[in-house]
Amino acid sequence: MSFPKTIDADGRRIAPWQLALRYVLLLVMLLVMIGPFVWQLSTSLKGMHEDIYSSPPKFLPSEPTLDNFGRVAEIIPVWDYAFNSLKVASANVITNCAGAALAGYALARMRYRGRRAATLAFILAMLVPVEGIIIAQFTTMRDLGLNNTLLGVLLPGSIGAMNVLLMRNAFLNLPQEVEEAAFVDGANTWQRFLRIALPSVKGTLAVVAIFAFMGAWDDFLWPLIVLSDPENFTLTIGLNYLHGTFAQDPRLVAAGTVIAVVPLIVLFACLQRYFFRGVGEGAVKG
């Protein structure tokens, strides 16, 4: 115990050798978790004539170039696909925020017959595994004439049952008195919802928005099933197509994956705490 001590942010003492060991392990894990992304970025920046298969591997491109991003756009309309993904993801944010807030408010704050049945419907829906119903969803979409459209991609997840229940819990945690006071002052349901309840649950709403965006942007199985015409592909489906058809040039696939992942990494970097909060709330519910 003769080591000099250092102190962490919580005021707990930690021995220097222990601190050093921690950082070594953290750096090893950093390599494992981030290394593959960096390698993909590096591959996407390597020119056509650079050997990407060398052993030992070369981590830095000798002549970094953005050519691959142009070339991948010649093979598949990658920017159109990105725009399709953006459209679906943005719409998914709007529908989930609006739909989940409205339904959550109805479940939490309103008194009416059938409320328990409505709550149960959302709980059951949350428990149904998406992977088990995709074929039935596909036939439903065909019946509606919406297969192979972006609307068809959007609809099944457009108001997630879990988001409704998240919003319900958020509203339940608000003190009822403020709304009762507003009621006495003559505010109607809509006004109480919009002006009083909604501003108090902004945090949960942000979580719903972020996970709705991420869910739609990253989704693979459902768009794979519902989209058949390359015109309407989203980015993930386009990448899968690129991989299947042009796998012989990893630079192109790498460029495509970089395009798909950068927006989300930026979003995550800006809004980290909502991402982490969402994990906690989702896990408790899920």
């Binding site: 942010a9 992304f37 298969y53 149904v128 108001i159 995550f268 896990a283």
Partner: protein, 326 residues
């Protein structure tokens, strides 16, 4: 049954509620009960608030669930309505070699992935638990694979594990031979499991971090005073304190693992690797049930098996938890 009637009840109520809702703001016309205040005013508008959510959830979760059950007893195809065939689909399943391959692989996936996802994220959470300088950067960095699409993750690892990819280049540089991660049936499945674990680490790490924050520090200090080393403290203090979280992680990850699709689809290809030997159950559902010649009835029967196993897994994990309590 309640779940199916809810959306229908909703549409009629909502239609009737329209005008009433608009006038309710001024406090007029309660039709139901003499109740007080908020209760009286809100007799119809709730259905309007809940309508969009109930409609979507009813049409795209609950109805498809029921129709999957019904379809599993028919020979319905994508373009042919089909007829009731009793248990024929399930009888066919028993003799379908591909079904057993799928079931085997999905079950193996649970066995391989779940223990790793219960233990490793806990260790990772312990590593990032102390608030030492720069730790928020590391926490975020470890979470990055969670944020990335499974397609991006799959394609990154396809390239990493390629015969001439980074891992093999390193193996060769250090004198070990190259390994065909993506050409051997079993190596492929294990590689996909490793990717699943890699992508899930950060997610479950955050869950464990929240649980660890609630472990009283005194427990550790007392154990340390008693002379318990780090490993002993992990087993006698940390594990019992986060056990319910471990059960939660076990339940979440086992259900997710059994339904694995994307990782294997991307790494083994749509047909499931050499001779389809790496096909998982959900891959089989996708392959059999989609497209213009899709056998909806048969794919639904496989889906029913997915439901049943999923529910059984949940119950199994929860039961294991209760047993430990006793």
């Amino acid at each position: 049954m309640k779940s199916t009637t809810a959306p229908r009840a909703l549409s009629s109520d909502a239609a009737a509620a329209g005008p009433t809702h608009r006038s309710s703001g001024s406090g007029r016309g309660p039709r139901r009960g003499p109740a007080t205040g908020i209760r009286r005013q809100l007799s119809f508008s709730p259905w309007l608030f809940a309508a969009p959510g109930l409609l979507i959830v009813g049409a795209f979760s609950l109805y498809p669930f029921l129709s999957t059950l019904v379809n599993s007893f028919t020979d319905r195809r994508t373009l042919v309505p089909g007829e009731f065939v009793g248990l024929a689909n399930f009888r066919e399943l028993i003799h379908d070699e591909m079904f057993w391959i799928g079931l085997r692989n999905s079950a193996l996936y649970v066995v391989g992935v779940v223990p790793a996802l219960i233990i490793l994220p806990l260790l990772l959470a312990l590593l990032v638990q102390r608030n030492i300088p720069g730790i928020t950067f590391f926490r975020s960095a470890f979470y990055t694979p969670v944020v990335a699409s499974i397609v991006v993750v799959g394609l990154i690892w396809v390239w990493m594990l390629d015969d001439r990819g980074l891992i093999n280049a390193v193996l060769e540089a250090v004198g070990a031979g190259r390994i065909g991660f993506l050409s051997d049936q079993w190596l492929l499945l294990f590689s996909a499991m490793a990717v699943t674990v890699w992508k899930g680490l950060g997610y479950y790490m955050i869950i464990y971090l929240a649980a660890l924050a609630n472990v009283p520090r005194e427990l550790h200090e007392a154990a340390a005073v008693d002379g318990a080393g780090a490993i002993r403290r992990f087993v006698t203090v940390t594990v019992p304190a986060v056990r319910s979280t471990m059960v939660l992680v076990g339940a979440l990850s086992s259900v997710a693992a059994f339904k694995v699709f994307s990782e294997v689809y991307l790494m083994a290809g749509p047909s499931g690797g050499p001779a389809g030997e790496d096909t998982t159950l959900v891959m089989l559902v996708q392959r059999v049930g989609t497209g213009l010649s899709g056998r909806v009835g048969y794919a639904s029967a496989i889906s029913v098996v997915v439901f049943v196993v999923t529910v059984a897994l949940m119950l199994l994990v929860l039961r294991a938890d209760r047993k430990e309590d006793a």
